[in-house]
Symmetry: C2
Subunit: 618 residues, 2 copies
């Protein structure tokens, strides 16, 4: 041997030096570039096809290559990595279908690994040209060249608009095309092969107040940009019930609300695509999550039955609709998936929580609380999961509380009260306080309990001697001053009133009754829990010890508690990246048992008990 050659792998940007006469497969192994192979280098599976940029640098084709690659492919530089010996420096391109390395990736903060196996696949095909002796029709010619693995579910379909253009597309591309395949069953695009190999998906969380979208490169699994806007439906009501009432009065109103969401998602799509310099027409899959009302609005389904007893959604299972039909401005043949619902008040966003936490797959006995105006609670593990929805109301989001506000700049987020009734607090952004967000409310009530400013029934003790305690002017309502007016941005005292404590009591009682009843149903005690997940708006701000004091969460060691933040978009993204995860979503929707608290004989008792701050129901 006359020395070493350098082998460059693109688009990985990796290389290897190794002796003249080594194979491309050996070079790939050294460069840690994954190339698919089922036969272990015997030349019999044909999976390791690569494109040699300078064909004169490699050896003659072998019999194995001539049987797996067409004449046209060979002439274009396609070779089998295991068969091809390298004699000079060479650059090798690995088509997406031959890559293996990028198939294990990590998603977001949560530790669940997702195998990159999206519902979309893209194949690069060199078709033999038709001749008089082989006049196979265009579609069948293309199908014959698709890898065998994508032929499992027959018959393979093709989008009608793509079929219509197929004769033109194939001939314009000189029979050298890329095929986008949906779910191993449907061809949704055929384009000249010289376009970028990358293709994209969008994971989108349609929240009542916000729409957040993550643009994902489905070739690499990477998130390349994020877009977000306020939910444009807000002009028709801040809360869901107002919007549902608006939609229920007139079909045109429903259409208006649907269009606002469609336009909103399109805006998020454009923002993310602009940010990542991606043509929106290269986005082929959108996975949406949201509560059941948002699900119905987005799909244009009347949401009324979700809001009135017995709270029946129109559909549980995942819905796939073409982008063209929904007027989402991805590739028109792209697929828009909305993950499944569990019940009227437990929607696809809760399914996304389950996906992100892996609760339904784990052996750990877990409690998941996703706090919001409706709080979803799940208890269980892979054996069995029970869930309910608690009408916790919007107190923790700032509504119905005198100085309540959302967790934005200027909100008090942490509070402690000393034994001498001095108050220390911390605001978001370190600015002068403008009000209190949910985590501060929990801190305040917990601290007031510890300092016995309120008793276990939630009554403020008027006998406490501190200047912070006073009667509200003209209302006869006792209040406790958290921040004096000379400290605040509003030049008014920020206080918590007796009725505010009552609102917080109601909210936490609804949630506590929920998890208490679920634990009872599962015949479990808090100490049986291996894991407690807290999802929702609080995020990391929640002081878990104080949450335990007011029994918003059960008494478990802090190291068992995990904050999962907004898990919805993480779950949607996982479903975008993996067909398995989409199936897990469907399995979860079917297997999770929904308990309607309104029909539970224990509910009234548990709720009344939980209004107290002191006693445990479990």
């Amino acid at each position: 041997m006359v020395g070493d050659v350098t082998v460059d792998f693109q688009p990985e940007g990796k290389n290897a030096q190794l002796p003249v006469g080594s194979t491309i497969a050996e070079a790939a192994q050294q460069a840690k570039v994954g190339i698919r192979s089922e036969c272990g280098g015997q030349g019999s599976c044909g999976k390791c096809r690569v494109l040699v940029r300078n064909p004169s640098a490699v050896g003659e084709t072998t019999q194995a290559e001539r049987s797996h690659l067409s004449q046209v492919e060979l002439e274009s530089g396609y070779r089998l990595a295991c068969q091809t010996k390298i004699f000079r420096d060479v650059t090798i391109e690995i088509p997406p279908a031959s890559r293996v390395e990028s198939r294990k990736i990590q998603v977001l903060g949560l530790e669940r690994k997702t195998e990159l196996d999206p519902s979309l696949k893209k194949f690069h095909l060199m078709l033999p040209k038709p001749t008089l002796s082989d006049a196979t029709p265009d579609l069948e010619r293309l199908l014959e060249c698709l890898p065998k693995e994508s032929k499992t579910r027959r018959p393979l379909e093709i989008d009608y608009e793509i079929l219509k253009e197929l004769p033109t597309t194939l001939r314009k591309a000189h029979w050298n095309v890329a095929v986008v395949l949906w779910d191993d069953s449907r061809i949704i695009d055929v384009e000249p092969a010289d376009k970028s190999p990358d293709f994209f998906g969008l994971a989108v969380d349609i929240g009542t107040s916000k729409i957040v979208g993550h643009l994902v490169n489905l070739t690499s699994g990477e998130t390349v940009a994020i877009g977000s806007i306020e939910n444009p439906q807000i002009v028709h009501g801040e809360d869901i019930i107002t919007r549902i009432a608006f939609a229920s009065t007139d079909d045109a109103n429903l259409q208006t609300l649907q269009e606002l969401l469609i336009n909103g998602v399109n805006k998020v799509l454009r923002e993310a695509c602009t940010g990542a310099k991606v043509d929106p027409l290269r986005v082929y899959h959108v996975v949406g999550v949201g509560n059941t009302a948002m699900h119905h609005f987005f799909l244009g389904i009347k949401p009324k039955n979700v809001a009135v007893s017995p709270f029946t959604p129109a559909v549980k299972r995942q819905v796939d609709v073409s982008a063209r039909t929904l007027r989402i401005e991805t590739a028109p043949t792209g697929i828009i998936t909305f993950l499944p619902n569990i019940a009227g008040l437990v929607g696809a966003d809760a399914i996304a929580d389950l996906l992100a936490t892996g609760l339904c797959l784990s052996g750990e006995r877990s409690l998941l609380i996703d706090m919001g105006t409706n709080t979803e609670v799940f208890v269980g593990n892979k054996e069995d999961v029970l869930c309910c929805s608690c009408a916790s109301g919007p107190a923790f989001e700032g509504a119905h509380v005198t100085h309540g506000m959302r967790a934005v700049t200027g909100a008090i987020e942490r509070v402690s009260i000393s034994s001498g009734f001095d108050v220390e607090y911390k605001t978001i952004g370190g600015e002068r306080p403008r009000g209190m967000c949910g985590s501060a409310m929990i801190d305040i009530v917990a601290e007031m309990l510890k300092r016995k400013i309120v008793n276990t029934r939630g009554k403020i003790d008027p006998a406490i001697e501190t200047t912070r305690l006073c009667k509200r002017k003209g209302r006869g309502d006792t209040e406790f001053v958290v921040a004096w007016r000379d400290e605040t941005a509003t030049n008014k005292n920020i206080t918590i009133t007796q009725s505010d404590v009552g609102e917080i009591q109601l909210a936490k009682a609804a949630i506590e009754a929920g998890w208490t009843i679920l634990l009872k149903q599962k015949e479990m005690q808090p100490q049986d829990l291996d894991r407690v997940f807290i999802a929702g708006a609080f995020g990391e701000y929640l002081n878990i010890e104080n949450a335990k004091v007011i029994r918003l969460v059960p008494d478990v060691p802090a190291n068992k508690v995990r904050f999962v933040g907004n898990a919805a978009v993480a779950g949607a993204k996982m479903a975008l990246l993996s067909k398995d995860i989409r199936e897990q979503a469907e399995d979860a929707a079917n297997s999770v048992r929904y308990l309607e608290l309104a029909t539970d004989p224990d509910f009234n008792h548990e709720f009344t008990r939980a209004l107290q701050f002191g006693t445990s129901g479990v």
Copy 2:
């Protein structure tokens, strides 16, 4: 027992008298009304559900019924026929899903029986209302009530537009609905159950000159009306090649030609529906056939490649498109199926021939010749079928022949010539002759051969002594008078000229070369054939003995020859009536081997030989 009761079955209109205390199943048996049953009357399969119009006439429900029928169904009068005893005169309605008798029907003239098992099914469902303890979402509630047999292919899909309206539809119908299911896999309609149980399909043959549609009741299998119009594309050219050229110059032209066909099919649909007093929105399936060019025009696919070597269609397999997409005015969620093509010049109309004749399923070694401007020829049986397309030209349809015309009123259709050169002829409708159609041309040439007016090379012998033989004025072309001017409607002699004989020679030579080469390829002699099918415009008019004389068809005993007329619409109708037949169509498209005559080394030799009238190539 106190005597007999009378049991009326609706909508069959049949009845039975039998002893008090007999079961509905026994009454049905006596009345020869087929009700489905898998358990033979044990009450365990639940298939024999019927609707009792006057429930007080029958006995108490049994345990078996309570387990198979919901409370709502029982209250509505649904019972199991095998379980229900009759005590008074009673009227029984058998829902479509419970019927069995009509499942064997006969289609048209051809003897193939088709089991009535259409791709569409309709189910009548009484859904339990949602409650707080059973808030199953609407779609899943409906799916749970669908008979098990339709759940085989999961996941069942639902048309998005139907899903959107589902909550409203179910509640308006008070949970009593009829569901239209496509191919056991897709819900394409949900409607109140009180609408008519019947639903319809349209079999349509899109010919180059005519569009013919048969409206079929898919509940009974009966053809209820026929509609037909001239192909409206004719304004853009009588023949296909002209239309393909027109479509190839501009995309807008292709769109024009597609719209003409769509409008044409809609017109045929309306005509048939008006005739049978059927709402077109109750038509859910259209099965179309036609040559490959019509297939492409109808689907809006550029047809150019069908017309130029190597004559490659865009697609072989069956294409299913929604009626909404194609703007066919059936139910918008209805499905439009175009049967598969075999090759550029062998289209879905030829597939329909195969379906109608059963050639691909029979053990009989058969020859099928579908004569037209392109003549398709098939040779084989269930083991293997070989086919080709022969460029026979339009001579037999009247074009390029001096006094040629289509087979319409006033056309000479039969001719014989005596040894004294007297001519006897018969016209269509018995009117004074205006010209000759294809069958007459075959008769004339055969008779002229027998009387040695022409020799085997096709030359008219100028030495024959008869006043019927003369030179055409100013052309130097010999002609033979078939009908004198005083007999004709045109006041001109109707003749056959030397060049007419040449045209007929060319046409028959193309066809003879086709079947000769196919027989050779199959190593068969004409006497090996068990059956010869003649399809196409000739119909019953063709004199088979004369066709054998000129070797348009091989020399087989007349009792082996069957005229199948226009088999295309018969085949389309069979595909409409039976899923199995649709699969047979797909199988035929995949298994029939297409032989491109242009590449066959024997073709030139065989064609030249077949230009002679006397010698056999087989």
